[in-house]
Amino acid sequence: MGAEFVQFSLTPLLIGVLAAVACALPGTFLLLRRQALIGDAISHVVLPGIVLAFLVTGSVAAGPMLLGAGAAAVVAVVLIEAIKRLGRIEPGAAMGVTFTAMFAGGVLLLEQSDTSSVHLDVEHALMGSLESMVWFAATGWGSLLDPVALAELPPELTRIAVVVAAVGGLTWLFWRPLKIATFDEGFARTLGLPVGLIGFGLVVTAAVAAVAAFDAVGSIIVIAMFICPPAAARLMTNRLETQMAWSLGFAVLSAVAGFVLAGWGPLWLGGSHAVSAAGMIATVSGAILALACVAGPYRARTTAPLDPGA
């Protein structure tokens, strides 16, 4: 558990935890606002964004990629709204039309362009490659204090850390307006809060978190962390503050347990190869949610289930 851990496991573990936290923060509000599937839509449309950015710049540098992904997310949100309003189509279907069509466009672009020389393919986008974010320059725990080694940290770690700080800061700063607008939009309006702007800001923040996390860990964790920890937390409490705490706790737990199980689980079972960390983190978050559904203290519905067609 010394030098090898720091070199090969510390950074992916940290990236996984930070990505989970970045998604669980806006995810809590999106869940309460019945917009949980925004994360799903965003993580699909990121693909055409990064492919276009690659075709335009010809490189896989992070800056243009993130810009392209962010632009695609905004285009998707605008398109969904446009189809909803102009075509008078229900939100779920509008979302389904938009993100599948954009994803298909991304796959087609990817097949048409020569990306064999760079690490850009659909499977990587879906599953991520958390395991590859290693810190070669590290020689042990002492490297955490060594500026030369620190400079060699995977850039994904720095980026996701910045994004977590930004998303966390925004959540803290806008906690009250967010809370009021989420639970009682009418009341928020009478207080003079810009309800529409708050909703849009939340979606944009979610998009930024999704894009940064996607860059590090692939879309599968993004969707899982947007929904599973907040949903499990929803079954644990009736207070938003407590729910946010549970949500972050579940996110961190999923990331750590999933990473450990993926890396060492097969060895314990007598296998020789690690399995996908991203997939395992999603699976663990699902197991936590299932437990919460069975045993969470506030799992029961106090009203009849909403008819989905109503």
Binding site: H44, I89, V97, A101, E123, L289, D307
Partner: protein, 402 residues
């Protein structure tokens, strides 16, 4: 010319197989999917589709353990069907038994089942057993090595799903439009919902080979949404959706066969999306262009009337659009002076306005006079006799000074 050959099924045996399979799949998906859309549960199919991945992995592992090579399509599809069904039940269970909303349940099932599937795929890779290459093809579909048996599976599965949809069309329509009424009539809404989603699951499983699990959702959702622009009747919507799905499948497959590096699944989805975009823009009644034209016509009528009222009152007109509207009809000369016809029209409109005032005095109830919106001609609301009575009270038309 490659495209022409592909369109006439002349681009080779494999291309023809794929085109026929994709067309059948599109028809089945469009038909089944339109009921999901009417029930406002289109995205449940997304959860179901992603939940097929662990089934594919498990079926592969099971077949290898039993001594096969693990690539038999019916076996893999059976596994996919089992976990997709489990995913569907999980969504249903979570929405009914916990306080979570359906969208959260969809997202949770989608990501967790897919994550588990990814784990299984890496397990299969590390085992190195059988010939694992190809399972990833289920993500986005891979039609390159499609066999006759594969096409047969698609055709049979699609036909069965279509037949079941036909048999269930009445209860499904009823539940989609008014679940309470359906329940009051003795239908078991929950079981009909499950049957509907079960059909979607069947189509998803059948479509894994052609378009893959990420994009099959598009084939279920887009045709129904597209058809919605063309009709207000549910039976026609289902038929149009089936046609849109079939055309998308056929054109997409043909396009993909016409050149290299054109994957079938994404092209089918993009053709469907193009049909959707055309419908959104140009469909009569519900399309954007139609709405714009309606709005423009309304605007023109309002400006024409306001302009003529101004002429009647001998007030100057400053609004450019009003001037253009009246000028185009020859009611106003370019220098802003009304023509003979313009004065006559203005007199008519001013007289009708006074008739309405009288009408409001005579008919105190709002039943008829409530229809006054400034644009409906008075002749459409009152009979000639009544109008004659108004005119008697009014004292006939007056000339307008230019």
């Amino acid at each position: 010319m490659e495209l022409l050959a592909a369109l006439t099924l002349g681009a080779g045996y494999n291309a023809a197989l794929v085109a026929v399979g994709a067309t059948l799949l599109g028809i089945a998906a469009g038909t089944v999917g339109s009921f999901l859309f009417l029930r406002k549960r289109a995205l449940v199919s997304d959860a179901v589709a992603h939940a097929t991945l662990p089934g594919v992995g498990l079926a592969f592992l099971a077949m290898v353990a039993l001594g096969g090579d693990g690539r038999s399509l019916p076996g893999l599809l059976a596994g996919a069907g089992v976990t997709a069904g489990l995913g569907l039940l999980a969504v249903e269970w979570m929405t009914r038994r916990s306080r979570l909303a359906e969208d959260a349940a969809i997202g949770a099932v989608l990501s967790v089942f897919f994550g588990a599937g990814v784990v299984l795929l890496t397990v299969i890779q590390s085992l190195g057993a059988g010939r694992p290459a190809g399972l990833e093809g289920f993500l986005l579909g891979s039609t390159a090595g499609m066999l006759f048996e594969d096409a047969l599976v698609i055709a049979l599965g699609g036909a069965l799903a279509l037949a079941a949809t036909w048999a269930l069309r009445r209860p499904m329509t009823l539940v989609a439009f008014d679940p309470d009424y359906a329940a009051a009539n003795g239908y078991d809404v929950r079981r009909i919902d499950l049957a509907m989603m079960g059909l979607a699951t069947a189509v998803t499983v059948v479509g894994l080979k052609v378009v893959g699990l990420v994009l099959i959702v598009a084939l279920l959702i887009i045709p129904g949404v597209t058809a919605r622009f063309w009709t207000e009747r549910s039976d026609r919507l289902v038929a149009i959706a089936g046609a849109v799905g079939g055309v998308s499948g056929y054109l997409g497959a043909a396009l993909s066969a016409s050149a290299p590096a054109l994957p079938t699944g994404p092209l089918i989805v993009l053709v469907a999306a193009a049909l959707f975009a055309v419908s959104l823009l140009f469909a009569p009644a519900r399309g954007l262009a139609a709405a714009l034209i309606r709005h423009r016509r309304f605007q023109t009528r309002v400006h024409r009337r306001q302009g003529l009222l101004a002429v009647a009152r001998a007030e100057p007109i400053h609004d450019r659009f009003t001037l253009r509207v009246l000028g185009a009809e020859g009611l106003l000369r370019p220098d802003g002076v009304p023509t003979e016809a313009g004065r006559a029209q203005a007199a008519k409109i001013a007289r009708d306005e006074r008739r309405w005032e009288i009408a409001r005095q005579i008919h105190q109830d709002a039943g008829l006079t409530g229809r006054y919106d400034g644009l409906t001609p008075i002749e459409q609301v009152f009979t000639p006799d009544e109008i004659t009575a108004f005119d008697a009270a009014l004292g006939g038309p007056r000339a307008v000074e230019g």
